[in-house]
Symmetry: C3
Subunit: 352 residues, 3 copies
């Protein structure tokens, strides 16, 4: 597959953009304002990068009407340059497209349903009663368990595991190494020994969801684990059994959500955040990186925990002082009382 | 495989429970008190949920003698409803059971031993000298390395890697994506360049261990990495080389244990906890979520680090103040001295 | 493969060490000073372990000239015992060596290039235009994507995914479950809905890099994600799109680096550290375990965040006080003013 090439006119047409410059100018790729060469298209989305416009070498730049006025070079003028870049990025993607059909090495159960437009990769295993819809790509080495369903237009990278009874919506993208429907961590303690609780719920994934590399989403203990429409999960995220994630919520890498916690819609959970189990986080919450969420959140807004980074020598002092904080607070209160007594006795004596 | 169906009488008999209600009542599943429909069995284990008994629609409820007195519906009366639920959960599990035998696509070394009652899945690779005991299931796409041993009754989900010289006890369950026996992080620094140290120890896993999805347990540098009997490890846990974990210790998701650390028996390590290397944690320790364990723990009990979550605006102030804590502590001490001087001089003058 | 056996003389020769003891003494393995039996070689690298020399049962010990003077047993005398141990560890490694050639079950694209001295394992998939250099081992179940390159002498454990357009240098070791070139977390928000941005950059890995089990390195959004020569990455590390890591930097397990962050050379990043995106960390930085790096670091040295572990009861008090810290700081300042007023009025009156 050769790298894709377009003319500036073709790209303007694709975006419905106003073209400033020659329609036949050749564009071979996308790049940042700083990196773009004379055959690449760039974009200005973040105002902080406006300073790079002057020295920009790009063939053309995606700009708003306002920014286009302070730039004399060729441009595609659009309402939202970042969204325009997002759309054009797919035109320049060299990700291989799998051909429809079942690879001869794949093992597909006799009673599994595979749409004729779906692509099943080498060594994939499709188990009994599973269903693969139209336009789905199942990568090499994927396993789709019994009775699981992959909705229309889904794309599974190589080496994804879907256990049994997992229902995945339309146009879901799953990166390599992800595991959906693993048995959640359920044990009953009997005199110090852990007895396993079978995890008999499933997993339900909405439409337009993205699931990152090596992310794990456990099946429910009784009811299903639920991931809403449009949810975006980065790499190495851990979603425990019976968690519910609301529509269009995004989580960055290495987040861990404990069992039965319910997260609202349109939340943004930064990298490394942890949430305890059995809490509720309302819609529209932003949690900053590596925060430990130990209680329910009922008001939209931004939440944090942790301490700011310091040079280790200073940090050791702060950390030691934190352990003395309760004592410090008591001494402070004591001082306030003593000083009040001194001041009032002083006042008393001067009154006398 | 159809969903399993039982009568209430069959379930009572299985548990040795006292049956209250018709023995021929049909039970099609398990559910919580809030979710159960008229064909599902529920249970009351957590006293906080007792309030849901009144409106419960379940066909019957697993109850203690005491709780049964305040509930008029059908019930199975048992000593420990949660353990009873744990036991019955397996009766309703629709997890497919693999047939004994080696899938024709599997690659099994000529000198590997595979018991005739074991099941080896599609595309599994069993290397030279490996041994698979009776009743073991090796899922599709698993790799069992040279000379490694899987004990009786083990269950490996699809896509598990066992490197060479890993010995796994009886009835061990390993979820998809787990990696046992990877080469630990051992390097000797030679003038700024890292020289690799071959990891020549193995991994030894006890009986009745559970290992979660995408969890990694590295092989020892010299001696073996050791996981005791009955240990339960959730997803995405990282166990470094030469770690030792005592019997019946449980760890929740995303825990990381650094090299050569030794953890006692019956510990509970909550999600996201990290432990530095070369420390010892005694038996019976509970570590709360996302705590950083930086030193040995010699007394059983509960341990924590980190700060409580706050709205981000307040958190920024707290975080800034933490960096000033050492200064604050010194000023507090100074104030105490000054106030003592004022008070004592005041006393002195009133004495005079 | 039998366990390797050497004579003490052979090992001395291999290291260029001074031999003290019989050249024909049989050495069957390596072990620590405490664990070594009479056929094993040990080493003294950490001065803290010097106390174990007296009771050491080892066949011989790797020692410096200085330490050899206070030990009467057999020894191999070398400049750096730890480096000598690192070198000899490979002699005792029982890791299977794969035979050259392509396993008959592997699927290799017609236009992929596989050197005749490379080994391609069972069920491996080598896609169109990929290139596998001399002496490379590609483990069972690996996928090497279109146009990706594995340089001379590389070793991929079973079950590694390399997406398309990933260039890997010479002698790179990749553990099982690692994913290189996954699609980074790039979305443009359009009225609450996330629009995917195609990730059209690649990944470039230098020479002599080691990548741990289940570690993920995302491809670039536009330009490539870059990992320098000699970088060592432990297990379950997450490297986001467009990160750059300088030569010989080492990261322990569970580290997460957010997008576009640039890390210098010869840094050491301890386990569980998180870094926000778009920052720069200079050469020679050491970050302690589970630190959250929220800003650029411009000076070499050691950095930390977080709080020290406490018993949970004390911790709850500290955590509550941290939330009051801003208030405490204001009250402290107030007290200082009041006390200054008292003292100065006292002084004033005694002056008077």
């Amino acid at each position: 597959m050769n790298a894709p090439v377009y003319t500036l006119g073709q790209l303007a047409q694709r975006l419905g953009a106003t073209l400033r410059g020659p329609a036949d100018k050749v564009i071979t790729g996308l790049a940042t304002l700083q990196d773009a060469n004379s055959q690449q298209l760039s974009f200005l989305a973040n105002p902080q990068y406006r300073k790079h416009l002057a020295s920009c070498q790009a063939a053309a730049v995606l700009l708003t009407v306002a920014d286009a006025q302070s730039y004399s070079g060729d441009a595609l003028i659009v309402a939202n340059p970042y969204l325009a870049y997002a759309e054009l990025s797919h035109a320049f993607d060299r990700k291989p497209v799998a051909a429809a059909g079942v690879h001869p090495s794949a093992v597909v159960a006799a009673d599994a349903q595979v749409d004729s437009t779906a692509s099943i990769g080498a060594f994939a295993v499709i188990e009994s009663g599973a269903s693969i819809a139209a336009g789905v790509t199942v990568g090499a080495h994927c396993v789709v368990g019994a009775r699981s369903v992959i909705g229309e237009g889904g794309w599974l990278a190589p080496r994804v595991t879907i256990y049994h009874d997992v229902r995945i919506g339309k146009a879901v993208v799953i990166q390599s190494g992800a595991v959906l429907g693993g048995e959640g961590f359920g044990f009953a303690n009997e005199k110090g020994v852990w007895q396993k609780i079978a995890q008999i719920g499933g997993v339900v994934i909405g439409d337009n969801v993205e699931i990152g590399a090596n992310t794990t989403i456990d099946r429910g203990a009784l009811a299903d684990t639920l991931i809403g429409n449009g949810v975006k999960l980065d790499n190495q995220i851990m979603i425990a059994h019976n968690v519910q994630v609301g529509d269009n919520t995004a989580m960055a890498g290495c987040v861990g959500i404990s069992g039965s916690t319910k997260i609202g819609k349109n939340c943004m959970i930064a990298g490394g955040v942890g949430m305890v189990g059995h809490i509720e986080v309302c819609d529209g919450v932003f949690v900053t990186g590596m925060t430990m969420v130990t209680r329910s959140i009922t008001e939209p807004g931004s939440y944090s925990s942790g301490t700011a980074m310091q040079p280790a020598g200073e940090w050791r002092k702060s950390a030691a002082r934190i352990r003395q904080l309760d004592d410090m607070a008591r001494r402070l209160q004591q001082l306030e009382k003593q000083l009040a007594a001194v001041t009032s006795s002083g006042n008393a004596s001067s009154d006398a």
